[in-house]
């Protein structure tokens, strides 16, 4: 996927002017937080569960090599294979080789953000293999030739009328008179089309929410059951996973699953939690003949031991997106690459570079709502600030911004000079704005006054008035 993160401001501008997008975001802004709040209110030990989950992830990150090797050993013992891929290109080639070995024409896909990260769909298409997304949201985005705008709700940027229109465009045999505006009808239509694809697919690709070291299993959660059909019907199941998805035991996975669903959709548990362990065994009633795990690093091991390591605790619940006022204002596509919202603002620069993605960690008010809802307590604002520090030391910020900051920093470290300047400013502003009490425009402050008025200062600064008051008090105490 060609990143447009450098054009974040222009992307955001378009998003703010898109009425459909704004209508869709207006609905998600209230929905997700309310559901999460309710689910957490029903679980008094949620915070204790968070601490358990964090301890699991921190332990894994400190012993990643051990658990990954244990995982591989157990996958092999179950008759599967693990493919270690350093980067996106290696992962794509690995997937293609497996598909070719199975002479694949059609590949069904469950939802996978690693699939987006390595842009597997475009690559398979370029190699004459047809990928079919089977998650409803992903399917909608695919027929619209878009990318997901949210890590768990790929089509959250759309309203149902847009979806109906896309279905009419993609499903040519639909009778014109058939109503498609109701979500239930859309679901049935997608289901009818996808059922054929499930049966025809040669390979099924899914992501993984967790990889379990002790059993060599991969786990996915879905609400539609599409993942099960994707991975059990074809001859071959490929799991795409980044290596920090590993947990030591099934018990650990269940702790994290309890956090995941509540943080994500406000469910106590997802509708389907599917554990896959190796290919079909003798006596199994269904399942694929081959089971492959494509294990992707793509820069993650470079984060170990560094200031961004905590980001590897992320379980992709999207609570940070769902509670972010910036995300709610502009949607996910404006971020310009696979991951959006606060987790994207931290992760994207590690994957595609701070030069490309510099806007992302800057476009935050540091309101802290993301960190407060993160089940893994990832210090997202702190890490966005760390990116800003790297940018500052590389002089990546715009010149006007850097010089403004430098002048201000010079003044505030010289209180007497600062006092002169601030007094002059407050008195001048009060003089020119005092009659109305506010400014409708101000030179050098159009970023502010294009959108809102600037209330005028009272007049003299506090420090001046305070000094005057002290002076009066001392004079009145002096005996005549």
């Amino acid at each position: 996927m060609q990143a447009t993160s450098h054009a974040f401001k222009a992307n955001a501008h378009r998003a703010l002017g898109n009425p459909d997008l704004q209508r869709a975001m207006g609905m998600m802004r209230t929905g997700f937080p309310a559901h999460r709040a309710k689910a957490i209110a029903r679980l008094p030990e949620f915070d204790a569960l968070r601490d358990d989950g964090i301890a699991i992830k921190n332990h894994v990150l400190a012993n990643l090599d051990f658990y990954l090797e244990t995982f591989e050993k157990n996958v092999i013992a179950q008759g599967g294979e693990v493919h270690w891929c350093r980067n996106a290109a290696e992962a794509r080639e690995t997937v293609l080789a497996i598909c070719r070995a199975h002479d694949a024409k059609t590949v069904t896909k469950g939802k996978s953000m690693i699939g987006e990260e390595i842009a597997i769909n475009d690559f398979l298409e370029a190699n004459a293999i047809t990928p079919v997304e089977t998650d409803l949201g992903e399917y909608i985005v695919q027929i619209r030739h878009e990318t997901p705008s949210h890590i768990i709700a790929p089509a959250v940027h759309l309203v149902k009328e847009q979806v109906a229109e896309s279905f009419r465009d993609a499903h040519k045999d639909l009778p014109r008179e058939r109503a498609l505006e109701e979500p239930r009808v859309l679901c049935d239509e997608a289901r009818a089309v996808l059922r054929e694809k499930f049966l025809a697919a040669d390979v099924g690709i899914t992501g993984a929410n967790f990889l379990v070291a002790e059993t060599g299993s991969s786990i996915i959660v879905t609400n539609e059951g599409n993942g099960d059909l994707t991975q059990t019907l074809p001859k071959c199941h490929i799991v795409l996973a980044s290596l920090e998805k590993i947990v030591p035991t099934l018990e650990d996975a269940s702790t994290l699953l309890r956090l995941l669903a509540r943080s994500a959709t406000g469910q106590e548990f997802s509708t389907y939690t599917t554990v896959s362990t190796g290919p079909r065994r003798a006596g199994d009633s269904d399942g694929p003949e081959a089971y492959h795990v494509v294990l992707l690093d793509n820069g993650r091991t470079a984060l170990l031991g560094g200031e961004f390591q905590d980001m590897l605790r992320c379980i992709r619940c999207a609570a940070c997106l769902n509670h972010c006022p910036v995300y709610a204002a502009i949607g996910g596509h404006a971020y310009g690459w696979v991951y959006s919202g606060p987790m994207g603002a931290v992760l994207t620069p590690t994957l595609i570079g701070i030069e490309e993605a510099g806007n992302l960690p800057n476009a935050s008010t540091f309101c802290g709502r993301c960190e407060s809802v993160c089940p893994m307590r990832i210090p997202l604002p702190k890490m966005m600030r760390q990116w800003r520090e790297r940018e500052f030391s590389k002089h990546l910020a715009p010149k006007a911004q850097r010089w403004g900051l430098a002048l201000w920093a010079f003044l505030v470290q010289r209180p007497a000079l600062y006092r002169l300047a601030s007094n002059a400013a407050s008195r001048a502003l009060a003089y020119f704005g005092g009659a109305r009490g506010r400014f409708r425009s101000l030179p050098l402050a159009s970023g502010w006054t294009d959108m809102r008025d600037m209330p005028a200062p009272q007049g003299k600064s506090f420090m001046t008035l305070w000094a005057e008051r002290r002076g009066r008090a001392e004079r009145s105490m002096t005996p005549p």
Partner: protein, 263 residues
């Protein structure tokens, strides 16, 4: 009350100093009425947040050292802002994590530093104020005060004792108003969308007054309310609690011109 009054250093904050001295005087009045002696160190300017959040760690540290020096020796340091209070209380110790000697000083200052309303209630155990105000107010929870310093119930508790004041909650008082320091000028369109949503939430309550404990957020919301022509009176919560609303008009409203016979 302690026999020896608490010696409090007031950290005025740069926005109160520049835009709204009345908030500083309201803080002084509240603290003095609660039995504290208040001093205002002359060597203070700003807490350094613009540098810190702009990635300029060296300047942020230099400014923090200046604040640490200016406020040495006080029993408490009180700040009429959750944002600047959070900077001193939470972020100064983090800033000096790699300089143990200064980290100790930063931690000592952090332990003595409080946001104004939190100090009045959590430290001085104030449960009511002697103030009156005619109107219905809605209260915006500024982000840093709320999430870094746990300021949520304290202002509401004190406001409940203000005679004539009714409180009406907006739907999402904990959602950011879009100010965010330099964010509002770096990303003005996104900031505008956020403050427009906030202002719609405020207007939906029907309240005639908006209160909050942070000048940055107040300037932002007051500016948007007046641009949209919404007649909501915007004030820092300290002005109401100190019963000083007669001293200064609401934010963004001109002071009445003095009548000739008063000159």
């Amino acid at each position: 009350m302690a026999a020896i009054p608490h010696r409090v250093g007031l950290f005025v904050t740069c926005l109160v100093d520049l835009f709204r001295p009345a908030v500083g005087f309201a803080a002084v009045k509240l603290l003095e009425e609660a039995g504290c002696t208040v001093e205002v160190p002359a060597l203070q300017t700003c807490c350094g947040q613009p540098a810190y959040n702009g990635g300029d760690r060296a300047d942020a540290k230099a400014i923090a050292r200046q604040v640490i020096a200016a406020f040495a020796g006080f029993d408490y340091v009180v700040v009429p802002s959750g944002s600047c209070g959070g900077m001193i209380k939470i972020h100064y110790p983090a800033l000096f994590a790699d300089e143990p000697a200064l980290a100790e000083e930063a931690k000592a200052l952090a332990a003595r530093t409080y946001e104004l309303v939190s100090f009045l209630t959590d430290v001085l155990n104030l449960t009511q104020v002697a103030a009156s105000y005619s109107g219905t107010a809605t209260y915006h929870d500024a982000c840093s005060g709320l999430r870094e310093l746990n300021v949520k119930a304290q202002p509401r508790r004190l406001l409940a004792s203000v005679v004539g004041l009714a409180l009406k909650e907006m739907a999402t008082p904990e959602v950011c108003c879009g100010f965010g320091g330099t964010f509002c000028v770096k990303y003005p369109e996104i900031s505008d969308k956020m403050v427009a949503d906030k202002v719609a939430d405020i207007a939906a309550t029907g309240a005639d007054t908006l209160l909050c404990g942070d000048m940055g957020c107040l300037l932002n919301m007051a500016g948007k309310l007046s641009r949209l022509g919404k007649p909501v009176r915007v004030r820092h919560v300290a002005e109401i609690l100190a019963d000083m609303t007669d001293a200064v008009p609401p934010l963004g409203v001109a002071a009445p011109a003095p009548r000739k016979d008063e000159r």
